[in-house]
């Protein structure tokens, strides 16, 4: 006799309730399989306790469907030429300037990387990990086996996203999730082709956090490593939650050291869309490069007030040029009200070097709006170590 799965599951619960009510279910010892060979247990009428949620047959089935649905959009990216495979990132900060996103000392291998189709007309997003050795040639291989010469058209060093263009039309772009309503705890799985497998490898976890790393990334417990940088982080409905990138909380360099640790990061889908919209204007001849913008503001971390207080302004920085001075309060950034220092940080982290940002400040001379053009952080401008707490 066979029952539908839902019915069997429901019966399991029903039987648990029944026996719990009778006061007998919890007194039963877990049967220990003494004799060998055959199936153990399943002799009494006692029900299975609630299973691991990820083992729920419906979850497993949904995961399988989502995996299959995403397969065509996950592509292999191969980089040939450039710096040798044993190349280690330079130990000084200068290495970070060339779009190097890995920890100094990490030896990058000769291996494929992963990409995600983001538009049918030939755009493939990947991570800047693939550019680290400054390859001479990039190739994209679709799920159907076709290989194309790919050209870099843009890279976003703040998010670790690179955009490639391949001469193909009608590519299978996936469905992207809206981040509104996304909460920690939702199942999320990571796909990647970096180990050199024919089909993408899958690791399963949950969304562990939102708005990490200055709001640039969401965090996942799914294992993330060079095996899946550039691949999608997806939900069980097959929608893409984000693009897996080698970002880390201690700056971009330390990310690889967290590999497979259950601490992984992905650029959220809405942010990815915005990035792609900016990068796609690039061409192989004129690659769009987006870098982290820097204002030169230090906010007082101890200040409790209606608005964060400027503790210091770096001489020669965009903030100094705009006439901001210590003691003033930041009321808003680009029209977004800022009650806390972190809100100023998040607002600035959305913008890039060269972007114009409008700050509304209030001080001894009254309330005013100042426009400043974000510049390079002082570490890069002067070669000095990064000034902590300055944005």
């Amino acid at each position: 006799m066979s029952l539908p799965r839902e019915a069997a599951a429901a019966l399991g619960l029903a039987a648990t309730l029944f026996f719990a009510g009778a006061g007998a279910a919890w007194a039963q010892p877990v049967p220990e399989a003494g004799a060998s060979g055959g199936e153990a247990g399943a002799s009494g009428g006692e029900a299975d306790p609630p299973a691991d949620p990820a083992a729920d047959p419906e979850v497993v089935a949904a995961l399988r469907r989502a995996y299959e649905a995403l397969l065509p959009a996950v592509v292999r990216v191969e980089a040939l030429g450039g710096l040798p495979p044993g190349h280690r990132a330079p130990r000084d900060r200068a290495g970070a300037r060339g779009g190097v996103l890995v920890r100094a000392g990490f030896k990058q291998a000769n291996g494929p990387s992963t990409g995600l189709v983001v538009s049918a007309d030939g755009l493939v997003a990947t991570s800047t990990f693939v550019l680290r050795r400054r390859p001479e040639h990039l190739f994209v291989t679709l799920r159907d086996g076709r290989t194309f010469l790919a050209r870099l058209v843009g890279r976003d060093e703040a998010h670790g996203v690179a955009l490639l263009r391949v001469p193909a039309q009608g590519l299978p772009a996936p469905r992207f999730a809206e981040s509104a309503g996304l909460l920690p705890g939702r199942f999320a799985f990571a796909l990647g082709l970096g180990l050199g497998t024919k089909a993408p490898t899958l690791s399963l976890g949950i969304v562990s956090g939102l708005r990490r790393i200055g709001g640039r990334a969401l965090q996942t417990s799914a294992h993330v490593s060079p095996a899946n940088y550039g691949g999608p982080l997806a939900a069980l409905d097959g929608s893409v939650l984000g693009l897996l990138v080698p970002l880390g909380p201690r700056g971009e360099d330390a990310a690889v050291e967290l590999y497979d640790s259950g601490i992984g990061f992905a650029v959220p889908a809405p942010r990815l869309k915005a990035i792609v919209a900016r990068l796609r204007t690039g061409t192989p001849e004129e690659v769009v490069v987006l870098r982290r913008g820097f204002a030169g503001l230090a906010l007082d971390p101890k200040h409790r007030g209606p608005n964060p207080r400027i503790a210091g302004v770096l001489p020669g920085s965009p903030a100094a040029k705009a006439g901001l001075s210590p003691g003033e309060f930041v009321r808003s950034v680009d029209g977004r009200p800022t009650a806390h220092a972190w809100q100023v940080r998040h607002a600035l982290a959305r913008r890039y070097r060269g972007d114009r940002v409008v700050l509304e400040v209030e001080g001894a001379v009254g309330r005013r709006s100042v426009e400043l053009v974000l510049g390079a952080p002082p570490a890069e401008a002067s070669g000095a170590p990064g000034a902590a707490g300055v944005d």
């Binding site: 299973a51 990490f106 291998a109 494929p112 497998t197 497979d260």
Partner: protein, 347 residues
């Protein structure tokens, strides 16, 4: 997902048919699977601690007479092999059959007069699909003591890796393994040899030793698939006596690449360059394939050609006398060609 509880009203009438339905319905609870599998999982203590090889590992009983399947390790080359079961009982053991190329070993416990052991049968690793929940039972870092039972870690099946075909080697992977199971459960020192189970308790593999992917320079979590262990196990269980361990073997003989008539631009000082074709020998397989000077060889078979050395290795390992798919970059175009690899030359 939504779970429906439509069957609640038939509570009393249906309770007694539950066992039959549960067996073929959803996976049994993890607790039940573990109650069955934990007594079949043992700790293996060999010799070692040198060259980063842990002296301890995990094994799984695969026969009631006391045969233990585990991962091959040089730590098993000792006369004082000991195996500890889930009740903390310690047994002497011998290597009954070992296959270092496969990475597997079968141990026989010295347990004359014992009442017999609980054992697991091999399942079918070929049925796994990415996303399937899996558990591993192991003795990580060797910290289990006395009758402490193995540590249970869970994760999912990630996919199948065929390291030889793709050309992306995995360091310290047994050399004759055609494919391995990749999963997202951490492999640690001591987990090697431990059972990898589906939630139903099917033994789909045993955990491998620590290995590092040459494609990513990161450790990979992998298991030896049951499909590759079946024959080894059948032979081992049928063997009348313990196999004598062959001395450690040297590296396999390196094959020379066949002459296909493409001359690469090879001049280099520090490292081999990209596989650019310099010249094509007239009348050669390379010419018939349509190769031209200045073509960049991107792929041979399934293997990506990062430099001239990859080209040589890929050709040397290609099946002789058969066409080999060849991918080249010519200008901005990527062309799929086919190269006939000549049959083995006469000596």
């Amino acid at each position: 997902m939504t779970r429906r509880f439509a069957a609640l009203p038939c509570l009393f009438g249906c309770v007694f048919v539950l066992p039959a339905a549960a067996q073929e319905g959803p996976p049994r609870s993890l607790e039940r699977t573990l109650a069955r599998a934990l007594p079949c999982t043992v700790r293996v203590h060999g010799a070692g601690g040198f060259q980063g090889v842990p002296a301890y590992g995990t094994g799984v009983l695969v026969d009631e007479r006391g045969y233990v399947l585990t991962a091959w390790s040089v730590a098993l080359r000792t006369d004082s092999l000991r195996v500890v079961d889930h009740r903390g009982r310690s047994y002497g053991a011998v290597v009954w059959k070992a296959d270092p190329g496969l990475g597997a070993a079968l141990l026989k416990l010295e347990a004359e007069g014992s009442e017999g052991f609980s054992a697991l049968r091999l399942g079918d690793s070929g049925r796994l699909r990415p996303g399937e929940p899996l558990v591993s039972l192991s003795n990580p870092f060797g910290f289990l003591y006395g009758d402490e039972r193995p540590a249970v870690l869970r994760g999912v099946f990630s996919g199948v890796l065929r390291p030889r075909r793709s050309g992306y080697r995995v360091l310290r992977l047994p050399e004759r393994l055609d494919h391995v199971l990749i999963h997202d459960i951490p492999n640690n020192p001591g987990t090697q040899g431990g059972p990898l189970l589906t939630l139903r308790g099917e033994l789909v593999g045993i955990q491998g030793r620590l290995a590092e992917s040459r494609a990513t320079n990161t450790l990979v979590n992998y298991a030896l698939p049951s499909s590759l262990l079946r024959e080894f196990l059948r032979e081992g269980l049928a063997a009348p006596r313990a196999q004598s361990l062959a001395p450690a073997q040297g590296a396999a003989e390196r094959r020379r690449p066949p002459a296909v008539g493409a001359v690469l631009q090879r001049a280099y000082l520090i490292r081999p360059p990209l596989a650019y074709v310099e010249r094509v020998v007239p009348g050669s397989p390379a010419e018939r394939a349509g190769l031209r000077p200045d073509d960049l060889v991107v792929r041979l078979g399934e293997r990506t050609i990062y430099d001239c050395r990859d080209y040589d290795e890929a050709l040397a390992s290609a099946p002789r006398g058969r066409p080999l798919p060849l991918l080249v970059k010519r200008g901005d175009a990527v062309l799929a060609l086919e190269l006939e690899v000549p049959a083995e030359e006469e000596r």
